[in-house]
């Protein structure tokens, strides 16, 4: 199977700052992965623009909604709040902020010219295939 590690998903300008979109990414399984992609706006001198991606499916409600959550920060950690149950996840690691709860997987993102690319590592793909 020849999966490209970096997959081009959309144009930079398809994302509003501080809002997410959902994208489909080819995974190891038959069905594509649903990934929530976020573009965090730069804010003052403190924060630079950041592109981050995590699973789109809420790990507790099992609904494909994470991309529609509100973003923000806890301390200096960028987070997204699930729109179903308000639980917050670290956008860099996917870990739950509010205690020992199921986590999201996080995916590397890079900008190439005007395109956004998401990386699905072999490990993550295998895990998905096994799931």
């Amino acid at each position: 199977m020849s999966l490209k590690p970096w997959q081009s998903v959309c144009n930079v300008d398809q994302l509003e700052p501080d809002r997410g979109v959902a994208v489909l990414v080819a995974g190891g399984a038959k069905k594509p992965l649903m990934v929530a992609l976020f573009r965090l706006a730069s804010a003052g001198r403190e924060y630079a623009e950041e592109w981050l991606a995590v699973d789109h499916v809420d790990p507790i409600a099992f609904a494909p909604v994470m991309a529609r959550g509100l973003v923000g920060s806890v301390g200096s950690t960028p987070v997204v709040a699930s729109p179903v149950n308000k639980r917050r996840y670290d956008l860099r690691t996917g870990l739950a902020v509010d205690g020992d709860l199921p986590a999201l997987r996080s995916w590397p993102v890079r900008i190439v010219g005007s395109r956004v690319e998401i990386c699905c590592s072999a490990y993550a793909l295998t895990e998905d295939a096994l799931a």
């Binding site: 959309c10 509003e16 501080d18 959902a22 994208v23 403190e46 499916v57 494909p64 959550g69």
Partner: protein
């Protein structure tokens, strides 16, 4: 991008340092930076110098992070005074003969203290007050036993700082000022008098109108001063703080243009007469003025950093508000604080409390706020400063100046004086203050539970404000003060933020966050600010950057359900619906396979729509002559009604018409929480108006108005607010009531708990709404009128502009693919599978 250009900054003071930080934050590799500082230490906070004698170390005062600067490639040369600038060769030469070539040069050499030409000024024991070295010299000198008294010449900002330094050294301190008052540049006479009084109470002796003519000495060392009238003050150490002069000699020698009283002339981009040379801070002269405070210097630093990195941010320095702490006394000035450029017949709104040492004044000329002064209390200072230059009768800034001028400590009323523990707090139930205190000590820290466990306030309710005040007092004492902050990003309550947004006329989230908040915000403050902006009639709720702060439901203009699909609720004003509309809704539900249910608010809820289906469904709803029901927003939901006189044998008023009028008037009104209402056509109350946020019940002659009821988790019967109102009276009171609630409630606080916490209860609410005791009724009505005028159906506004439909796509890279929720069928309708995983 070409090779990096060489930037040389002469001077490593506060402004030079800030400039480099601002530049590094924007620099994209186009500049390599070299800083040449004359002092032996890196930039430090000069304003706080006197704290070195009060326990602080130089490390505490050091600005910036030397390691980070090094990491960013900044070359910081200390002990490196510049001898001259060679503009032709584009290089500077240092005192030790080194040469630094530049593509762009920034002069930030600041200023020198001005030593007035007074005979005897050269005596030993006379100092200036500018650098760490100056302070060290003053300290060494003052250690000697014979130094018991000290004199500061100059009663301005720096003079008072110097006085603080001497005082901290344990020297009996005198401040002499030639003008008739302290801080003559910033303060008016009463403000200066208040400051003088407080400063004297701290043990610093002040002498105004004292023109020093001679400095006396014993042949070597200073012994005192004499003024024109022959008065003498003795002192063994003397500090000059009689103003500053720009250190512009480098610019002068290099042939740059200087201002009328010195300073290198710069334009709005901080450029000197040589476009390769800029000047910032106290060495610069902008619009014929040299600015001696740090804030204008920082503004120049920002402008120049932007300019050099390709963006424009022209300099505006007028009316920079200034907040200072002098000898522990808060002093704030804004606008034309001394009325220097104002007509003689200017009006003053002022507050004076000599006992507490508070003086606050705002000047008004021709209906325009021109400036003001605060001494001893800076509450609401930012708000005062923000209305400078605004017309007081402007509908968007209508403010009661008196309210702003009175300090919070006074406006809050009773103060914090303490009654004995055995004093009765609630006479209805015989509850003492001691009873309440012990309950609080046991951990009852909220008003509701406190009422429940002590019974205080359950009789006539008159003691509720006292109860609340005591609770606050005790919590403060226990160190668990109820923090009114909205969240970690805003240290304001919602009410304070509402006022700030209103006064500053903010229109964007970024504006609000940058001005009043920190971090990136969160799922608490973003929707709260979104609601405030919307309540102030800010246009389409997803325009500008508002899209990024709307809760999921507001963002998709529909209610998300547990499986990620949405429900659709059209408005059915008063619960009245035509058969054709019913059929249309039924047809839409069938076509999109939507689960259908009648709601508690006499509407129809259609469940199970996917994100991409929402625009298609709403187009059909609009085509059937219906509009958005705002079920997705913290907004007016529904106004229920019974059929009233139209059909009912018992009805005494036309409840349906009134309900429709009320619902259409307030539709779309965003508020701290959802708003529900009902109108009943007679006293049988079939519409259940007494369980709503506001309700009308018909009487023979008009309407009884009920407010602040609630169903839900904590049911509360609404209070009878006013009786036998005409239609128009009821509407007027409702306009005022709703806007007052929107302004003052906390986030997600329904009207019932808001009312429970309102000091003064029903009487107070009546006095505001009916008697206009706060004088804001016209304002509240105007705010409501603006909302009504700007109302638009949000779905119509969305469907009319194709670019607003972009986010109604589930996967941006596969617009035709959709996730497939797992459905089951229950009682002939489609519902989510109880244990579903979407695929």
């Amino acid at each position: 991008m070409g090779l990096p250009q060489r930037l040389v900054v002469v001077g490593n003071g506060m402004v030079g340092q800030r400039f480099v930080e601002e530049l590094l934050a924007r620099n994209d590799g186009q500049w390599t930076v070299t800083i040449l500082g004359a002092e032996a230490v890196p930039a430090y906070d000069r304003v706080a110098l006197s704290s070195l004698f009060d326990g602080a170390t130089l490390d505490d005062l050091t600005l910036g992070d030397p390691v980070a600067m090094q990491g960013a490639g900044v070359d910081l040369q200390l002990n490196c005074a510049v001898e001259c600038i060679d503009r032709e060769a584009r290089q500077v030469v240092t005192a030790d003969g080194r040469q630094f070539a530049y593509d762009h040069l920034v002069i930030a050499t600041g200023s020198d203290p001005f030593v007035p030409p007074i005979p005897g000024a050269q005596a030993a024991g006379c100092f200036v007050y500018r650098t760490v070295d100056d302070l060290e010299s003053i300290r060494q000198w003052s250690l000697a036993d014979e130094v018991t008294a000290g004199i500061v010449i100059g009663g301005g900002l720096l003079g008072l700082e110097a006085a603080n330094a001497l005082r901290n050294l344990g020297v009996q301190t005198h401040v002499v000022e030639m003008a008739d008052r302290l801080m003559p540049q910033q303060l008016d006479a009463p403000g200066a008098a208040m400051l003088q009084r407080t400063v004297e109470e701290l043990g610093v002796q002040t002498h105004v109108g004292f023109a020093t003519t001679c400095i006396e000495n014993d042949g070597e060392q200073v012994t005192g001063i004499v003024d024109a009238n022959g008065a003498t003050i003795s002192g063994q150490v003397l500090v000059f703080s009689a103003g500053i002069r720009p250190r512009d000699h480098l610019g002068e020698a290099a042939g740059l243009e200087l201002g009328p009283r010195g300073g290198i002339v710069i334009d709005d981009r901080c450029a000197t007469t040589d476009s390769a040379v800029s000047a910032i801070g106290e060495v610069a002269c902008h619009n014929a003025t040299v600015h001696g405070l740090v804030a204008p210097g920082y503004a120049m630093a920002r402008t120049l950093a932007a300019e050099l990195t390709g963006s424009e941010q022209p300099l505006t320095l007028s009316q920079t508000p200034t907040k200072l702490k002098l000898l522990g006394v808060d002093v704030g000035t804004f606008g034309d604080s001394t009325d220097r450029n104002q007509p003689a017949d200017i009006d003053h709104v002022s507050f004076v409390d000599p006992v507490q040492g508070i003086y606050r004044r705002v000047s008004v000329a021709d209906g325009l706020v021109t400036g003001g002064v605060c001494v001893g209390d800076l509450t609401k200072f930012d708000m005062l400063a923000s209305i400078v230059g605004q017309r007081l009768d402007d509908i968007t800034v209508t403010v009661d100046l008196g309210q702003l001028v009175v300090p919070d400590s006074v406006a809050a009323g009773s103060g914090d004086f303490e009654l004995p523990d055995d004093a009765l707090l609630c006479s209805c139930n015989n509850v003492t203050r001691a009873d309440v205190k012990s309950a609080i000590a046991r951990g009852v820290h909220e008003l509701g539970p406190l009422v429940a466990c002590t019974s205080a306030g359950t009789g006539c309710g008159g003691c509720k404000p006292d109860l609340q005040a005591l609770l606050k007092l005790e919590l403060d004492r226990l160190g668990v003060a109820a923090d009114p902050s909205l969240c970690e990003h805003f240290s304001f309550s919602r009410q304070e933020l509402f006022d700030l947004v209103r006064f500053h006329r903010h229109r964007t989230w970024n504006d609000v966050l940058a001005t009043h908040g920190s971090g990136r915000g969160c799922d608490i403050c973003r929707p709260a600010i979104a609601s405030i902006l919307a309540s102030l009639a800010n246009g389409y709720v997803l325009d500008g950057d508002q899209g990024s702060i709307q809760d999921t439901n507001d963002h998709s203009l529909a209610n998300m359900q547990r499986n990620g699909t949405y429900s659709v609720v059209p408005r059915v004003p008063g619960g009245e619906i035509t058969p054709a509309q019913l059929i249309a809704l039924g047809q839409i539900a069938e076509d999109f396979n939507l689960y259908t249910k009648i709601t508690g608010g006499q509407r129809i809820d259609l469940f199970g729509a996917q994100l991409h289906e929402l625009p298609l469904i709403w187009q059909r709803v609009l085509d059937a002559g219906m509009e958005s029901g705002h079920a997705y927003g913290k907004a007016l939901r529904t106004v229920k009604s019974c059929v009233g006189t139209t059909w009912c044998r018992y009805g005494v008023q036309d409840a349906v018409s009134m309900a429709i009028r009320v619902e259409k008037r307030y539709r779309g009104l965003r508020s701290p929480h959802k708003l529900k209402s009902a109108v009943s056509g007679c006293t049988r109350e079939c519409a259940e108006a007494q369980s709503k946020d506001f309700g009308l019940i018909a009487t023979e002659t008009g309407w009884n108005l009920y407010v602040c009821g609630n169903g839900g988790r904590t049911p509360r019967h609404a209070d009878l607010f006013a009786t036998d109102l005409t239609d128009d009276q009821a509407i007027q009171y409702l306009d005022r009531f709703l806007m007052f609630y929107i302004r003052t409630a906390e986030r997600l606080q329904r009207t019932a708990p808001w009312f429970e916490e309102l000091d003064g209860g029903l009487d107070y609410l009546r006095s505001v709404v009916v008697d206009d005791a706060l004088g804001i009724a016209a304002e509240l009505e105007a705010d409501m009128a603006r909302h009504i005028d700007s109302y638009q159906c949000e779905w119509e506004a969305t469907l009319n502009k194709p670019d607003r439909l972009a986010h109604f796509v589930e996967f941006v890279n596969a617009p035709d693919d959709h996730s497939t929720p797992v459905w089951i069928t229950q009682r002939d309708q489609r519902v989510p599978s109880p244990a579903a995983v979407a695929t």
